[in-house]
Structures are given as C-alpha cells and as structure tokens.
C-alpha cells in the first residue's frame, strides 16, 4: 500500500490503527507487560532499607552499651520489615502493567480497593517530549532499567508515567519504538522508513568524553564550598549522634573546652576551614567524575540521546523538536580556560533527576567555547549557526553604574539595621556577658560582609562587561551572569511571551529589563537587566508575530 492510499484509508476509518498492516513492532513489545520479576526484589530492598536503618539507629545505643542481643533484635526486625516490603512490592508489581496501544502507551496501576483504586493513563505518542532511561545502583546490579516519559503537561504525572523493571535491551527497543510511533503519529514517516526495523537505526552523530577531558571537566565544575558545607553539617550531626549514644561526653564541659582551645582558636578554625574545603573539593571532584563518566550523546533523525553516569546510569532521549532553548554555561574556572557546558531546556515535571533539575538536559559537559556551534549543528541544528555569527549589542555605562549600586546597596542598610538593633537592645551589655563567643562572631560577620560586598561588586562588573543581547531571524540570544556566565539561544517559536519592564529609575536612565519565557519551567538566563530602551523595543518588535 502506498503512503497516499494509507492516508486515504486513515481518513475514511479514523478508528483504525496507524500501526496496522506493516507492523514493525518487535514481537517482545506487543501485548500487555509487567515489570521484570526481579524488580519485586529490588523494590522490596529499596523500601526496606529506610526502616531498617532507622531501627539500627534506634538500637545503636543499646549495642554501644554492650548489649549483644541488640544485633539479634536488629536481624529479626530486618527480616520482618523485608517480608512486609516484599509482599507490598509484589502487590504493586502485579497491579502495574503497560501496553503499546494504537493511541499511546497505556499504563495501569492501583491495587483496586479504597484509595488505591485502579487507574490508567494513556500517554499519546506525539506528546512525548523526553524519555529518560534510569538505572540506580541496585537496579544496575540486577540489570534493570526504568523509563520515564515526560510530556508537556502542566501537572506532573510523577511516577505514573514511569515504566520500571525493564531489561536493558528491552528498554532500548521500547524507547526506539516509542519514538518511531511518535514519528508515525505526527505523520513524518517516510515510505521506505516503515520497513526498517527500529534497531537498525544508526545515530547521525556521536560525541563522548574521555580521559584527560573527563578529568578536566570534573575538576572545572568543582563546587568545593557547597560540599564543604555539607561535610560540616554531616560532622555536626555525627557529633550530635555520638553525644546521644553516650560515646562522647561533653555535657557541662563547654567552659573547660573553651579555655583549653581559646589561645589557638583562630588557627584551629582556619585549619578546620581549609581541611573541609579541601575535602569538599575532593568529594565534588569525585562526584562529578562519577556523574560525567561514560558521557555520550547520540543524534538520531528525530531525537537526541544523552547518556552518562558511572554508578547509576542515566540515558535521556529528547525529541529534537521539543527543545525549548539551549543554554551554554561557564563557571568562573571554565571562563578562564575557555570551556563551557551545554544544556537543553525541556518541558518537564518540576524536581530533580540524577542530581540535575529535570527540565535541563546536559548535552555536553565540557566543550571548547569555539566548538559549541559546530556541536549544535550536529546535535540540535535548530539552534546552530547563531553563536559567532550573530551581531550582539552591549550594555551602556548607565547599566554599569546601576549594577554596582544594586550590588552595594544592601550593605549600608544592613549596617544601619545592625547598629540600630545594638542601640535599641543594648547589645553591649550582652557583649560583656558572652564576649568570648560574640566578639569573634561579630568580627567574622564584619569581615564576611566586606568579602561578600567585594564579591558582589566584582560579579556585577563582570556581568555588565559580559552581558550581550541580539537576535537572528529565528533565535533570541542573551548573554548574562558574571561569575557563572550563561549564553542562551532561544528559538522565537518557543518563546511563550516577552516582557519589557522599567522601574521609575530605569525610565529616567532610559533603560529597561527584558525577559522572556518558554514552556520550560526554568527561565535561567532569559532575563537581561538595563538594556537600552530602544534595543528592548527593537527586540519586542522582532518578537511580534508577523502576518
């Protein structure tokens, strides 16, 4: 049957499946499916681990007090909890099915009584934006994979749109089949493509990251500070727990400790800070290494597949036509070495996936800035031919003055509030009674506030120097950010709205703030402050639909 005849028939009998006739669906994907039985075990283990750890914590005090029986209690409790979880996860597993129907993927779940009534969800193929394939450590050991479908729906489907417990090969085939059906539903299937089995599809382009580049990528993305804070929190919690278990006896000995430490408090604090920062850097390096390892991006005709992760493997396939905008991000270290990270923003449920916001898909973790355009040409041709080819405008001197004022304006206010509070509540009296603690804290706060002030001013000046705006016929381009520089390429057809706003101060200075939104939840980098009013007007006019 020719494509034309097929179309005619479809018009005549709309209820007939698009996928009848030359059905290339692999045998294994037909009919109703449940997850692999192994996933019952995996789910039960995952479910049980939380309560068991809690019980272990509860019994730890007895154990440290020399009660060996606590171990037996723990084992008994673990067996009990695990059995309950096994039964539960078996029931859930039995209830959860998926099937590829003519209209879409049909997912059923719910035990069928009370609040767990039987539910089903049909995700139409053409509305699939991204398909994420994840495998946490436990699933990886058992060789299982979960697929998560994301559509452009405003309300998130959460776990409902998840197909878990697939064998790796099966998941791969299912994903290819989903995208094939998406193409078919959108009427994009070429005649000869129909007979090609989905597995025979070859990627048009492949990028990966190895060896030295991987190490550099992990090193230049370090966030020593946040890891150090996490470490300190962990230490404090640990100490707290030890005190609770009676292993560390400091109650009522605070003064004694302070007297012992006070002559060397500054070196001790500094050394502690240095050590935590070093450790934080190391941890962050390892975390990044694990996350970026095995990074690989493949481009197919209709989708981009991004894989990465060493311990828990994740692979996301995004429909190329559904990418809302592309962001090129450079931290301060990467600005120095001229490398950047490329992400694609998509419509997704709010939340996180593998430690990244689920709306942003990492396309390339580490690429030379000059090569970004070539990379985009291979991976997302819609957004290529922009960087390096488009003429961009700079902000005027007025914007610099305003940026610096914005960066420092809080300082006099904060100081005034502090001094006012001191005057009102007589902090000086307090200072005398607890001087040993408050004085260093005050000095530290003052020093920190000045450091923060300098940092903010530097950030503001860098942001002003780097800020650019412009557009091609099809894309809006904005460059923002000082310490983290963000270059955004947003196709005009993806922008939901554009807004130009001006406060009284901005109106007097003849500048305005321009902001845009796409359907993606994230709007990072889609706002630029203080660009000249005429430029904002021009961008607005460019955005206005023509005809």
């Amino acid at each position: 049957m020719s494509a034309g005849e097929k179309d005619l028939e479809r018009l005549a009998v709309p209820s007939r499946s698009l996928f009848e006739g030359a059905d290339t669906t692999p045998e294994a994907l037909r009919g109703t499916h449940r997850a692999n039985p192994l996933s019952v075990l995996a789910e039960a283990l995952k479910m049980a681990s939380g309560p068991v750890v809690l019980v272990a914590f509860g019994l730890a005090r007895d154990f440290f007090a020399g009660d060996i029986l606590a171990l037996a209690k723990l084992a008994l409790a673990a067996v009990g909890i695990f059995t309950v979880c096994l039964l539960l996860s078996f029931a859930v597993w039995r209830a959860r099915t998926w099937e590829l129907t003519a209209e879409g993927v049909r997912l059923c779940w719910g035990l069928g009584w009370g609040p767990f009534s039987r539910r089903s969800l049909t995700v139409p193929y053409e509305h699939i934006h991204t398909v994420s394939m994840n495998s946490a450590l436990m699933e990886r050991l058992l060789g299982l994979v979960a697929l998560d479908l994301d559509t452009g729906a405003a309300a998130s489907e959460g776990d409902a749109s998840k197909i878990s417990g697939l064998r790796a090969g099966e998941a791969e085939a299912l994903r290819a089949e989903l995208f094939r059906r998406k193409r078919a539903a959108a009427g994009q299937v070429e005649k000869d493509e129909k007979d090609v089995a989905p597995t025979a599809e070859h990627p048009l382009a492949i990028f990966s990251l190895e060896g030295r580049e991987l190490a550099l990528a992990a090193a230049s993305q370090m966030s020593a500070g946040s890891q150090a804070i996490a470490l300190v929190v962990l230490l404090v919690n640990g100490a707290n727990q030890l005190i609770e278990w009676g292993l560390l006896d400091v109650v009522g000995r605070g003064d004694e400790l302070m007297v012992g430490l006070s002559p060397m408090i500054v070196p001790v604090v500094l050394a502690f800070l240095a050590i935590t920062l070093l450790l934080g850097a190391a941890v962050s390096f390892v975390v990044n290494l694990v996350r970026y390892a095995g990074y690989r991006v493949e481009r197919y005709a209709d989708r981009v597949v991004v894989e990465h992760g060493l311990l828990s493997r994740s692979s996301r396939a995004l429909a190329a036509g559904r990418v809302q905008y592309v962001a090129v991000r450079q931290g301060i270290l990467r600005q120095l070495i001229g490398y950047a990270e490329v992400t694609a923003q998509v419509v997704a449920a709010p939340g996180e996936k593998d430690g990244e916001p689920s709306g942003s898909v990492l396309l390339h973790p580490f690429i030379r800035l000059g090569e970004v355009d070539a990379f985009l040409a291979e991976v997302l041709p819609d957004c290529s031919g922009v960087l390096g080819h488009v003429e961009l405008g700079k902000l005027g001197p007025v914007a610099r003055r305003r940026a610096v004022v914005r960066a420092v304006i809080w300082w006099p206010f904060a100081t005034a509030i502090f001094l006012g509070a001191q005057w009102l509540f007589g902090l000086s009296g307090l200072l005398e009674s607890a001087g040993w603690l408050l004085e260093p804290l005050l000095i530290a706060a003052a020093v920190l506030s000045v450091v923060l002030l300098v940092g903010l001013v530097v950030d503001a000046l860098r942001a002003w120097g780097a800020a650019r705006y412009g557009h091609t016929a099809r894309e809006l381009v904005l460059v923002t950010g000082g310490l983290t520089r963000l270059t955004v390429i947003a196709p005009r057809t993806r922008l939901q709205r554009m807004e130009m706003r001006a406060s009284p101060f901005q109106r007097r200075a003849g500048v305005a703030t321009l902001s845009a939104r796409t359907a993606a939840g994230d709007a990072d980098g889609l706002e630029l402050r203080d660009l000249p009013e005429e430029a904002a007007d021009e961008l607005l006019a460019w955005y206005r639909p023509r005809g």
């Binding site: 419509v347 709205r497 706003r501 406060s503 939104r517 007007d537 607005l540 639909p545 023509r546």
Partner: protein
C-alpha cells in the same frame, strides 16, 4: 516605550478598586480590634498592636490613594489578529507581548464586586503563565474571550 496599545479599561474599574481597597482596610481594622482585645485580655502591651495596625492601615490608605488612579491611567491593552499586547504597572511599568499562537486557554471571571459593576476579568493562559486584563465591560470581556479563543484556534502550532 514606543506606540503603546490603544484600548483602556472600563472607567467603572476605578470604583471596583476603591471598593475592594476599602474592604481591605475594614478587614485589617477588624483584625486589629480582635488583636487589641486578645492582647488586653492577656495583659500584654497594647502599644505594639497600635503600632503594627497603624502602619498597615497607613500603607493601605496610601495604596488606596495612589495605585487605583495610577493603575487605571497606565493600563492599556490590544488584541490584534496575531498577538495580545498588555501595558500596565504602578511603579514598574510592564509591557507584555503574547502571540496568540501560544495561548492555551482564555477565561473570564467575575467576583461579586465586579458583577455588581457589570465588569469581568479576562485571563489569558499560555503554557506556564497567565495574564489578566482586569475590568472590562461584561460584553466586551465575553467578546474578547471568544475572539482570543477563535484566533488562538486559527493560529496553529504546538508547544
């Protein structure tokens, strides 16, 4: 900002804003009396109640005197065959452009105060955000809603 949209809100909207602001002031006053009774009953210092209530009332009164008039004088909107164009704001003036292709749905809304004045609010939603045109005459609002819906239907494209 060049060539602002041409349509203005219905003049009755000014009264609606005044009425709702006055209701706000009355509610705050009622809450302040309740707080005063409770604090006095518990034997606390009533000075703080006076201070907090006074500050809030003062802000409300200033708001009543300034924002409805400025808001009304500023508000402009246009629905062209291709886009919705809005301009409004008390201090920060905002100009928003929403192409009709991006409009997902339109709705009109009427609270009791708006209904008493024969007005309605039109809300235009895109994927992610929605925008309001407050205070149009009922018929205008319905017509605008239908027009936006019709134009959005004609302008075909997907997210």
């Amino acid at each position: 900002m060049s060539d602002l949209p041409s349509h203005r809100l219905d003049p009755r909207m000014l009264r609606v804003w005044y009425v709702s602001d006055i209701i706000g002031i009355v509610v705050v006053a009622a809450l302040a009396v309740a707080a005063w009774l409770i604090v006095r009953h518990l034997g606390g210092d009533v000075f703080w109640v006076y201070l907090v209530a006074g500050v809030i009332e003062a802000i409300c009164v200033v708001d009543l005197l300034v924002s409805p008039r400025v808001e009304y004088a500023t508000w402009r909107y246009d629905v062209t065959p291709t886009d919705v164009d809005l301009y409004h704001g008390v201090f920060t003036k905002k100009r928003v452009l929403v192409p009709l292709v991006r409009v997902q749905h339109v709705q009109t809304k009427q609270g009791p105060i708006l209904r008493a004045h024969g007005l309605a609010t039109v809300t235009i939603s895109t994927a992610g955000e929605s925008f309001e045109i407050p205070g149009l005459a009922e018929d205008d609002a319905n017509e605008l809603r239908d027009r936006v819906a019709e134009l959005a239907r004609l302008a075909k494209e997907d997210v």
